[in-house]
Amino acid sequence: MKGVAKLSGIIGIGLFLHTIYSVLQHRKYLRLTDQPFEGVPLDIIVECIISLLLFSWGIINSQNLIPIKASTHLAKKSYDSFDNRPNFTTFNNRGKYINEIIKNN
């Protein structure tokens, strides 16, 4: 789904660049044939709207939203992860001396 969305976004940008090029070409043609400019042709406008729709569909579908209710996130956590308090861990215990005794024996 995300790959399709990205592809449609890229196609939208490509169509948009193509419309820029075709409008520039149209204006150049009008200038060379000495005709007055009376708005952009309809097919270019349709192409613009299609490119906008494709691009926005792609952008919107490539993003993920997160559920905001706290219960949906808390339901996945285990009780041990709540009970874990790293601040209360003590490193000064008897393990050092016991280890020495075990080694000597």
Binding site: F16, V23, V40, L52, I68, A70
Partner: protein, 123 residues
């Protein structure tokens, strides 16, 4: 006729039921903000492209601003179409996506509108 103690119990039960009905769902502010940021991240590129299109077609004056609202409505309706019935999962007030960030992409829209209008129709 009920015993006074039974009456009291009944009252307490009613009160508990009322409290259970009025306890609001707890929302996480962090995720609300992240969802709003996601909407903004979607809106800005779309309004940039909309501005480019307005410049290509050659809108000037009020019609350009009307086109901005057209782009915004396209954005909102596509967003609502994507999350048909799940919007209440992601936003505390689902209807707010239709009018919450109307001016969010206006500045980038105007920038690209004037930019492409100048490139194509003036030079």
């Amino acid at each position: 006729m009920l015993h006074p103690q039974q009456m009291q119990e009944q009252q307490q039960q009613q009160q508990n039921a009322q409290n259970a009905a009025t306890i609001p769902e707890h929302y996480e502010m962090e995720y609300i903000q992240r969802n709003n940021k996601t909407i903004q991240l979607c809106q800005i590129p779309i309004s940039i492209l909309g501005g480019g299109i307005a410049g290509v077609i050659g809108f000037s004056g009020l019609s350009g601003f009307l086109f901005y609202f057209f782009v915004y409505i396209i954005f909102c309706s596509l967003f609502a179409l994507k999350e048909k019935k799940n919007l209440h999962l992601y936003f505390p007030n689902p209807r707010s996506i239709w009018f919450d960030s109307v001016g969010g992409g206006l500045m980038s829209y105007i920038l690209f509108w004037t930019f492409l209008y100048n490139i194509i129709h003036i030079y």
